[in-house]
């Protein structure tokens, strides 16, 4: 647990308190509202993640070796899912990032089903885009 970024530790503690689907949904929506915004010109075709049924945009930048992602969507719960993903991965170096077990992270939050292969919500496409961005 110690290896988790601070934001991730807070997120994990919050979701551990959420016992019902309503509480999880409320938490997700709250997290989604706290996403760092994207400028209008960042919501571009180039930053749009293909393969999502909702619109998702993702940008990633490297500062002093650490990756910082910003993302948003037109769907609220998906914004929440993006937020809890970014809590886990932001601020990591490329090697640390590659080692993150994202499905384990979502399982710990009680959100494991959101990554299942049958879901077309786009989280898997977001992860693929992150790998593309950080591979280069």
């Amino acid at each position: 647990m110690n290896e988790l970024p601070t934001a991730a530790r807070e997120t994990l503690a919050a979701f551990a308190q959420a016992g019902s689907w309503e509480q999880r949904a409320r938490l997700l929506m709250q997290r989604g509202e706290r996403l760092a915004p994207l400028a209008d010109d960042e919501r571009s075709e180039a930053n749009r993640v293909a393969g999502c049924e909702s619109q998702v945009w993702l940008v990633g930048e490297r500062h002093e070796g650490c990756w910082q992602f910003r993302a948003t969507s037109d769907a609220r719960l998906l914004r929440g899912l993006l937020a809890v993903l970014l809590d886990r991965v932001n601020g990591l170096e490329a090697a640390q990032l590659a080692a993150v077990d994202v499905s384990d992270w979502f399982d710990r939050l009680g959100l494991g089903r959101q990554l299942s292969p049958s879901r077309s919500n786009g989280m898997n496409a977001v992860l693929a885009r992150m790998r593309e961005l950080t591979a280069g």
Binding site: S54, D74, L78
Partner: protein
């Protein structure tokens, strides 16, 4: 409270119920009656054998059961002969068979006519055929109720039309299409006609001698049968126009290293080992369905559909897509993203579909990124709808 007298015939319904799941996605695939499951297990348990090949007794038994299914499908559709039924791996494969088998009839500048509501399976094979041959794909527009606009069809179906391919019942809008006038238009212009019956065949019996299309395709898995099986009906003279498209075992009459001669339909279009167990199981599904009181089934489905529409309309901000007549209803809610709503319905164990429903061009025409679709089977009842509405209310309260 409206109950389905056939629910107990489908073992999955009680299993899903025990898992807290309400199945409202039958337009994607239907649950299966015990009779079909028994036929599938029975074939494997009692001895599998390949069809149309060996002389031994298991093969004879399998071939007879397989060909019995062809007779049952022919009867179900009132085809004039079982030889008008070709088994395929699904409706999609049947449509691809047609798009390749009829390719030689399409020339540069010819027109292939489809409609704005067709499923990708009845759009892409024709689009690709048009691209291969330099032909033009003409798309019939819809009226506000979600039916193909007949005035426009009158203008668009003409002497250059070689083929008309339309859906019988929309998988998004739940609207029956005006097939008779469209088929008449095609015939008057000397065009072949293809009807995609994937959704339509599930709701009511359709007499193909009355319908008078040249080809009709269906998928077994939506018709309470197994997946991996479909059927293509081709009117006798229309089947003769098809060129062979897949080559392999048992479709060939005489084979040499340099050349070969092939069987006519149906066997000439069933290359390789067909889905034998599935075809036999489809026969069992049709036997099961034929044993039901068709009138009672239709009236149950209609009453349930009315209740679905009433319930949706009673909720603030719900907008139905088109004017659904049977089987399903798609909707959006003002100010609420369909993906959010679907997320929360799924959380509550409501199995509905959300997205573009394999009809991306239609959703674009409607100006929507997606919608939620609720679809019904003959096993659904009012308790399923009540759970849907309770979940819908809870989800909307949270999202607003």
């Amino acid at each position: 409270m409206l109950l389905s007298p056939w629910r107990a015939d489908f073992p999955a319904l009680s299993v899903l119920e025990s898992q807290g799941q309400v199945y409202l996605d039958s337009a994607a695939t239907a649950q299966k009656p015990q009779a079909m499951i028994d036929a599938l297990a029975g074939y494997y348990t009692c001895g599998a054998a390949n069809v149309h090949r060996a002389q031994h007794q298991p093969a004879e038994r399998a071939t007879r059961a397989f060909e019995d299914s062809r007779i049952k499908v022919a009867k179900w559709l009132n085809a004039s002969s079982p030889t008008e039924i070709v088994f395929t791996r699904g409706a999609t494969e049947a449509l691809n068979l047609l798009a390749y088998g009829l390719e030689h009839l399409i020339g540069a500048g010819d027109e292939i006519v489809i409609s704005a509501l067709d499923h990708h399976a009845n759009l892409l094979p024709w689009q690709q055929l048009a691209l291969r041959r330099g032909a033009k794909l003409v798309v019939l527009p819809l009226d506000t109720d979600g039916r193909i606009d007949l005035d426009a069809a009158q203008r668009l179906i003409g002497p250059r039309t070689r083929l008309l391919a339309v859906s019988q019942l929309s998988n998004v809008l739940g609207s029956w299409q005006p097939l008779q006038p469209l088929l008449n238009l095609a015939r008057r212009n000397g065009a072949l006609s293809v009807v995609d019956g994937a959704q339509g065949v599930v709701h009511g019996r359709h007499d193909l001698q009355t319908l008078a299309c040249d080809f009709y395709v269906l998928s077994a898995h939506k018709l309470y049968g197994p997946d991996g099986v479909g059927a293509l009906f081709g009117r006798g003279e229309a089947l003769l126009q098809l060129r062979h498209w897949q080559f392999g075992g048992e479709m060939v009459r005489v084979a040499d290293f340099e050349q070969a001669e092939f069987h006519a339909a149906p066997l000439g279009f069933e290359a390789g080992t067909p889905p034998i167990a599935g075809v036999i199981a489809l026969g069992a599904s049709l036997d099961y369905l034929a044993g039901l009181d068709a009138h009672a089934v239709q009236s149950h489905e209609q009453t349930l559909h009315d209740k679905l529409l009433d319930g949706l309309r009673a909720r603030r901000g719900v907008r139905l897509l088109g004017s659904p007549q049977v089987a399903l209803a798609s909707f959006v809610v003002e100010g609420v993203h369909h993906a959010d709503l679907s997320h929360l319905l799924v959380e509550q164990g409501i199995a509905v579909r959300s997205g573009n429903h394999c009809a991306m061009p239609l959703m674009k025409t409607l100006g929507l990124g997606g919608a939620i679709r609720v679809s019904l089977g003959l096993y659904n009842d009012e308790s399923d709808l009540q759970r849907l509405f309770t979940a819908l209310d809870a989800a909307l309260e949270l999202l607003r």
